[in-house]
């Protein structure tokens, strides 16, 4: 299994959905799209084996992937959708309140350039209620960045470590994220990212505003932030039309393409598991 399939505990969520329990998930015969993506659904720069199925979130991504030469591209929907199915709307422990804000993050190999102070001021001006800032683990460990947000009076959290090379994957990453999202009334970020779509699917009102920041060595192949703003203008702004946002999130997360457990077991190559792989 490609190690990226383990990111954010995606493989763990799918294994639970398929009825394989909470243990270590079996190898997936394919590549899981591990984040919302304006390209072919796969992370640029990763080594991929030709002909191995790509398991993508949305029909639009499937068409795009096909058009750039990918084959065996199958729409299975986002793992987050499967988590929602495993954890349908629970009775809220408390009333939804405030905003969960996701400052845009790169990954370990990239660094974000931008002014966090300016962003904090914009958040304070915009958000009506208490703000929880969720930092990527990488930035959460940077004391300087974390302190900036804490000093602004925000609650600062991190959903966990996404894992790398099968090590230290937090199998409850998405669970934790869903729990947090369901505690908040709004979800916001300075870029349209997976978290915004997850938030909409979890019942939050979305907002995308503020300096989108610059990612060092950002891959311009698929058009970058400028294209995202052109293609999804409806999702940008301090307040957006909720029914439209819900419809777009449904398409982008492939909620309608969610497979049944037996169907997913076939598509992931889990239909004929040998005991030792489980």
């Amino acid at each position: 299994m490609h190690h990226a399939n383990h990111f954010y505990g995606h493989a763990h969520v799918l294994a639970r959905y398929c009825g394989l329990g909470d243990g270590h998930p079996p190898r997936i015969n394919g590549y899981l799209q591990h984040g919302w993506n304006i390209g072919d659904g796969l992370a640029p720069g990763h080594p991929y084996v030709e002909g191995t199925p790509s398991l993508l979130w949305s029909e639009q991504t499937r068409r795009r992937a096909w058009s750039v030469g990918r084959r065996n591209v199958v729409v299975t929907g986002a793992p987050f959708g499967y988590l929602l199915s495993l954890r349908p709307e629970e009775p809220p422990a408390q009333e939804r309140e405030g905003t969960i804000w996701y400052p845009f993050h790169g990954w370990e190999g990239q660094h974000v350039r931008g002014d966090h102070r300016e962003l904090i001021a914009r958040i304070l001006d915009t958000e009506p209620g208490p703000v929880t800032v969720c930092l990527y683990w990488h930035e959460h460990r940077m004391r300087r960045v974390r302190r900036l947000y804490e000093r602004a009076g925000f609650r600062v959290i991190c959903h966990g470590y996404r894992g790398h090379w099968w090590s230290d994957t937090d199998p409850l990453f998405l669970d934790r994220q869903l729990t947090e999202l369901r505690r908040h009334r709004r979800v916001a970020s300075n870029r349209l990212t997976s978290a915004i779509f997850y938030g909409i699917a979890a019942g939050c009102e979305p907002a995308v505003y503020g300096d989108p920041m610059i990612l060092a060595d950002e891959d311009p192949t698929f058009g970058g932030t400028a294209r995202i703003r052109r293609q999804w203008p409806e999702l940008h702004g301090e307040s957006v039309h909720l029914p439209t946002a819900v419809e777009i999130a449904r398409a982008e997360l492939g909620t309608d393409h969610r497979c049944t457990p037996a169907e997913l077991r076939e598509l992931l190559g889990w239909a004929n598991l040998q005991e030792e792989t489980r």
Partner: protein
């Protein structure tokens, strides 16, 4: 060779002594062609059968006065013997042997005109032959004439080019290049009008003009390009009709594509055209009246379609046009087979009585699903498959079982009532197309669903159709995925049961015996997506299967290389981890710690041993009886 001739055979000249035209391959009771001729001939009519025809025709024309013109003497002798005491006039000779001054109410040349001409005597060509036959047609009479399509489906799929004919019958090869004969329907109608006849309707003969198992009104083919009935009929005729013969491409696919393009009439392997001579006076009763092409019914009040389906002995199924749509009719009523399933324990049986009601209208589910697969339209696929599964479930009894025709309702025998409704998003409406086949015992609804989807999955994968899923799925996996799209979680055990059920039903449909039945079941269980469709010998499909195998091999090789690389990297990581462990276990702090915990470890080990001994001692000992 003896030339002794039975007294009832007339030899007007031009007979062929060492020749036979009678077909080697015959359909039971002559098939749809004989059924059509029987409908065409009114009681007491004078009929000329020009050229070789199935001898079964004699039995079906017992109500008429038959004269038979043949060029082969052995055929003539055989027919005269078969006719027995009946008064059948057998003429053996060339076209010049037709009696002068005698006319006929119906002239049938359903083997085409080439088979009327003898090698002996002067050649008079296609037009000359037509003129001769038209000349003996009585006023008000009807001519039924076969013409093979020089650019028809049979020639398109044939692995042997038409112009390379080396067979005994091909002492002259006719084709599209010969302007002395018509090459399409318009030219045929022109030729008929040229000899003073009024062209009537026309039947397209599928899959082979020489032995059609389906005869369909050309006007219906042109006017109803999306009809589920015509789709299933042409597909069934072509899929079964070319089995065992090598072809360039799948004739069933080509026929259904031609239907949808409005070309199933134009590309038919051959045609059976009707033409009429104007009555001498309006009062004279004659055969079926002429009908305008494109009318709502079949030509001249004849059926819209006649088809031979299923195992031998079940007769020809007809479809007739009524004011409220098409209706089934069985040409030859067969005894209801109520006792049969219980006597033979076949998985399925046929109830001809089911062929009485209206033919359900709509598109064939298989075709609509294929289209959605090719367009990779997952939304439509889910809606259709969910609708199909829900429709099946809606017919289940309290125990979740389906009985009768619904138990066998697979996408190739189910029509979707209104495509517009499907596209618009409302629940699609389904109906069993041919409800005459019934399951002998009720089936769990999941087995019916799995069988229907397995049949579709097998056709999809082995046929090499594009679809929205991965090529790594096997047929059972694809079936489970299709069921998932239908909202049903099927397990592989249900799919395996469905394949067994499919083998049993197919054996009943084809009338297979024990050994053939086992072989069929083995063949179905072994269907692989990288193989061509079972039973087909199509160059295009074989090549596609080879390409799929090659792609799969390339994928597996790439995967193997990646796995090797990964294994190397993981082994390296393991070696590093080993080195770290060794380093740590050799350190002073590790040794001191280990020394400190050793007494505790020994004590724990001793306590466990003591506990085990005590437990053994306290366990009740088995008596001598128990030991045995």
């Amino acid at each position: 060779m003896t030339t002794e001739t039975p007294p009832r055979i007339a030899l007007p000249g031009g007979e062929m002594l060492a020749w036979s035209d009678l077909p080697e391959r015959r359909l039971p009771d002559g098939g749809p062609l004989v059924a059509l001729v029987a409908r065409l001939v009114p009681a007491g009519a004078r009929v000329l059968l020009a050229g070789p025809h199935d001898p079964a025709l004699l039995d079906r024309l017992a109500h008429a006065e038959v004269t038979w013109l043949l060029r082969s003497l052995p055929d003539g002798v055989a027919l005269a013997e078969r006719a027995g005491g009946r008064s059948v006039g057998v003429l053996v000779g060339g076209p010049g042997g037709l009696p002068t001054g005698k006319t006929f109410d119906v002239v049938v040349a359903a083997s085409g005109l080439d088979a009327v001409e003898s090698v002996e005597g002067p050649r008079i060509g296609w037009d000359g032959l037509l003129e001769r036959l038209a000349g003996v047609l009585a006023p008000g009479g009807t001519l039924l004439l076969r013409l093979d399509n020089p650019a028809g489906l049979t020639r398109m799929v044939s692995a042997t080019p038409w112009y390379a004919g080396r067979g005994d019958a091909e002492w002259a090869v006719g084709g599209a290049l010969d302007v002395g004969r018509p090459a399409n329907l318009d030219q045929l109608r022109g030729r008929l009008a040229g000899v003073g006849l009024r062209p009537g309707g026309c039947f397209a003969a599928y899959p082979d003009a020489a032995a059609p198992t389906a005869l369909v009104d050309v006007a219906a083919l042109d006017g109803r390009p999306t009809s589920g009935l015509l789709d299933a009929m042409l597909h069934g005729a072509c899929a079964g009709g070319h089995a065992g013969r090598p072809v360039l491409q799948d004739p069933a696919r080509l026929a259904v594509d031609a239907l949808h393009s409005g070309l199933a009439g134009a590309l038919a392997p051959g045609w059976l055209a009707l033409a009429h001579r104007a009555p001498a006076d309006a009062g004279r009763p004659a055969g079926p009246g002429p009908a305008e092409p494109g009318g709502p019914g079949g030509p001249g009040g004849l059926p819209v379609a006649l088809a031979q389906t299923g195992p031998p002995g079940l007769g020809v199924v007809e479809v007739t046009a009524a004011t409220d749509g098409w209706r089934w009719r069985v040409a030859d009523p067969v005894e209801p087979a109520a006792g049969a399933p219980f006597a033979t324990r076949e998985a399925a049986w046929r109830d001809p009585a089911a062929h009485t009601g209206p033919v359900p209208e709509g598109r064939l589910l298989r075709t609509v699903l294929l289209d959605a697969c090719l367009r990779r339209d997952l939304d439509t696929l889910r809606r259709l498959l969910r609708g199909y599964a829900d429709w099946l479930a809606g017919h289940a009894d309290a125990a979740g079982r389906l009985a009768g025709a619904t138990a066998l309702a697979s996408p190739d025998n189910v029509v979707v009532a209104d495509t517009d409704v499907v596209v618009a998003g409302a629940a699609p409406a389904f109906a069993v197309l041919d409800a005459s086949w019934r399951a002998s015992d009720p089936w769990p609804v999941d087995v019916t669903l799995a069988r229907g989807l397995w049949r579709f999955a097998a056709a999809l994968a082995t046929g090499g159709y594009a679809h929205p899923w991965s090529s790594t799925l096997d047929v059972a996996g694809l079936t489970v995925v299709l069921a998932g799209a239908a909202g049903h979680d099927l397990d592989r055990a249900t799919v395996a049961a469905a394949v067994d059920a499919e083998a049993a039903v197919a054996a009943a449909l084809r009338g297979l015996d024990g050994a053939a039945r086992t072989a069929l079941a083995d063949e179905l269980r072994a269907v692989e997506p990288t193989a061509p469709p079972p039973g087909s010998d199509s160059h295009q499909q074989l090549r596609e299967a080879w390409l799929r195998q090659r792609a799969e091999l390339t994928r597996l090789q790439a995967l193997l290389r990646w796995t090797e690389d990964l294994l190397t990297s993981r082994e390296r990581a393991l070696r590093r981890a080993d080195a770290t462990i060794n380093l740590l276990s050799g350190s002073l702090s590790y040794r001191v710690g280990r020394l400190a915990v050793t007494p505790a470890r020994l004590a724990r080990r001793g306590a466990r041993a003591a506990k085990r001994r005590a437990a053994d001692a306290l366990r009740p000992r088995p008596t001598g009886e128990e030991r045995r």
